[in-house]
Amino acid sequence: MLPFKRAVAFALAVLCAGGITIGARAQDAPAGDIVNGKRLYLNSNCFTCHGRAGQGGAYNGPAPAVAKTAMPFEGFLGQTRNPSNDMPAYAAQVMPDQAVADIYAYVQSLPGPREAKDIAILKD
């Protein structure tokens, strides 16, 4: 991992641990509550397909990784409401926009991928 990325990840981890509300992507996302986002991510069963670490998984087909997703918030919200694949649609009545924003903040706070070359058993 690049030093800068590591520092950002660490900062996010600290913010997450403290339950501090941040703008997940200040330039394009509403403010989200990471702690509430984690609660929703687990209780609404997002983790069942996308993994507790946001590493992705599989349902009928691959479920993409969401940890530190590059998807802008609008796309994330759109995917939640009108998914492009077999992901179930979450209507606003069960997951208001603010809840989606909290989940977005949470997944943005998760560590992204590391450098695989730094992990010995992934070299072969």
């Binding site: 209780n43 609404s44 069963n45 983790f47 069942t48 397909c49 993994g51 507790r52 670490a53 946001g54 590493q55 992705g56 998984g57 599989a58 349902y59 009928n60 479920a63 990784a65 940890a67 694949n85 077999d86 992901m87 179930p88 649609a89 979450y90 209507a91 009545q93 069960v94 560590p111 992204g112 991928p113 590391r114 450098e115 695989a116 992990i119 058993i121 992934l122 072969d124």
Partner: protein, 520 residues
Amino acid sequence: MAQGYAKMEGKPLAMMCHGTVGLQHASMALYNAWCDRVPVYVMIGNIIEGDKRAPGVEWVHSAIDPAAIVRDFVKWDDQPASLQHFAESAVRAYKIAMTPPMAPVLLSLDAELQENPIIDPESLRIPKLANVVPPVGDAGALGDAAKMLVTAENPVIICDRLARSPAGISRLVELAETLQCAVVDNAGRMNFPSRHPLNQSFRRSVISQADVILAIEMNDVFGSLNAFSDRITRASRPTVKKGAKIVTLGLRDTYMKSNYQDFGRYQDVDLAIAGDGEASLALLIETVKRLIDPSRKSIYETRGKKLAAAHQAMVEQTKSDATLGWDASPITTARMCAEVYAQIKDEDWSMVGTSIRLSWPHRLWNFDKPYRWNGVSGGAGVGYNLPASLGAALANKQHGRLTVSFGGDGDFVFAPGTLWTAAHHRIPMLYIVQNNRAYHQEYMYLTAMAARRSRGIENAHIGTTLTDPNIDFATVARGFGVHGEGPVTDPTDLAPALKRAIAAVKSGQPALVDVVTDPR
């Protein structure tokens, strides 16, 4: 067990059970084997004559037609009425089971016939067995297919249950290398090396770019060439390019039954060749080589280099993906598979089972030999993985291979007594329980249904999770006399646990490692 054994050893294992209750127990295993096109030789007992049955259990264990409950998913069955009839049916059953497309067969054997003295032994004889030579596709049709392949810009080969023997793998490699074309392996068998540069199994976009698709020994061609939406309104759309030519080669069209719908949706194709895939490849390769215009070789080389580069990029991306949640607890399935591979990669390993949609081994490991893999259940009936893995381990034992298998916790609880068989018969096997503490496919499905109805999402765990109490699989294993490790919750504890378990396996014992994992 018989299904796993046959796929590894290339010949059926005999299986005996009660004709009524035993066969009812065995019926789902037979369904798996039938869907998986695996030969299993089943013998059941029956007492045909009512006046010969003892009062009580022999009546409830007798039937007029005991094979009726499985006739939809065995290839052939008989209830011989004499010893000579038995001899002929016994040989015929073996021959039918071993003729591709292979499938289970069943003989219902009358107790009187089994136990009464032989009155006239000199009159009996065992017929000669001549196995059927698998049919090769029509030469003209294979020639037409070869013409399409050599002139295509982006030919793609898709396969599923292709390789019956090592020859199947080497022939597929030869065909792909001759054409320098992409191969998408659905992994119904060990068909194609996972690290071959032309392996594009995890880059299915190649299918949508193909102008010629050769589908070999595919059960569900439609499923591979179409996208399907599991939504309120279920819909599908082709993922192949308009005008792409589709050629099928295999014996699927020659063997069909009506009731159970394992044949999948009907797929439009341009050329359907009836012939055993493995046997037909030799002639197809020869024809392709004869038809290749030398001036096109540079085009092939360029195509192959592009595919190799894409394969390498895919490998790098896979490794990067595997690092997500690397230190997490519960342990990610990627970390679990990487840790297992680190311990076995220098052994003569054979992976014989996997939990639902666990693709990390095929994405990360080097599957380079015929016995590295033997496919999945076929019928997706729960309770397959543990006994089928032990059957494959029994086959591997005589070859000195290190058998490794992953199985889900939900699947495990359907046939845990398999562990006693493993311990009793000293069948070495490393069994990893991917313990996500749920029937997880159902957990996800209920979540999807609840979200669809906008209610009860938080209740999807009811009836789908295996918690309260958590199952301690290592203790269960020890209770059956099997070396048990775990539950392992910290990823740093995994390597030491695996080392201990593998040491037990190498000493000739079965061993189980309970790994508490994230869902998928």
